[in-house]
Subunit: 170 residues, 2 copies
């Protein structure tokens, strides 16, 4: 049975929500990671991924400038990194320099970096962008894919207030 | 440590993936549900939701015609419905008539229906669409929101081959 309610209340039922970290280089060539809850696959052939990024985020300019971005799936052990990258701005700091625990390696096809400890990394070439309310949707074509050689679990936001967790099989 | 691999292999690490059921009325006024793994929030203010629908799906015409759609979060008990709606086409059958266990109620603002046993339902007015490879991304503005009066859990695809499950707190 459904009860009509405010969007703000109903949308809390979306949790657990998968987390991704999107990375793009800014005009000074610095790789800038941002934590996003809003991403999806958008096509199988060719493989496309979509992300929704808040219009005020520093990452918007970095993605537009570099015309590419990495989508990284953080592992369940990377909640500190996800929280740090989601609560700081590349306008004010070099996130990877300040959060040294999060190691990166150069991407191979695009001009970006990969997260060494992520569950997987996808190098994406920007295909198009379109405004959606207070966010911009970027769609990128995956041009290189990576998986962690170790067994890892994806990180989820399990509730409001950036509570993090991972999935146990039911 | 990351190992370069095929997209098809790397993308399997995306599971568990949240499932939504999108519903739109076709030209005969029949509500047609389709199960989707690819959806995301796209804006907070105004509240927007995005779905990626395969270009060959019957739902494409129904969404374009009715200019609206429901996004329903199926509960962990609705895996049969999700599998049925995802493996049948509205071209060949009336899915809600054939799968009678899945009860619906009329939407209140748009011309669609809600899933009575879903975790939540969102009535969306189509704002725009854009082609993304072999899918179409539809973005809709949420104009009414509902939650289940009972405590429910969201349904997830937990692995390839449409394996379904739900999230246990870690």
């Amino acid at each position: 049975m459904q009860k009509k309610t405010d969007f703000e209340k109903a949308i809390k039922t979306r949790y657990p929500e998968q987390v991704v970290i999107a990375i793009a280089k800014d005009k000074s060539g610095r790789a800038n990671p941002v934590t996003l809850g809003w991403s999806m696959l958008a096509s199988s052939d060719p493989p496309l991924m979509a992300i929704a990024v808040y219009k005020g985020h520093y990452s918007i300019g970095a993605i537009r400038r570099s015309k590419c971005f990495t989508i990284s799936y953080p592992s369940s052990k990377m909640s500190d990194a996800a929280l740090f990258f989601g609560s700081h701005s590349g306008r004010d700091c070099d996130k990877f320099s300040e959060f040294k625990k999060c190691k990166t390696s150069p991407a191979k096809v695009i001009d970006s970096v990969l997260l060494d400890d992520g569950v997987a990394n996808f190098e994406c070439r920007l295909l198009w962008e379109k405004k959606a309310g207070d966010h911009i949707i970027f769609v990128g074509q995956v041009v290189a894919s990576y998986v962690n050689i170790k067994k890892t679990k994806r990180l989820f936001t399990i509730g409001a207030g950036h509570k993090m967790g991972f999935f146990k099989k039911s």
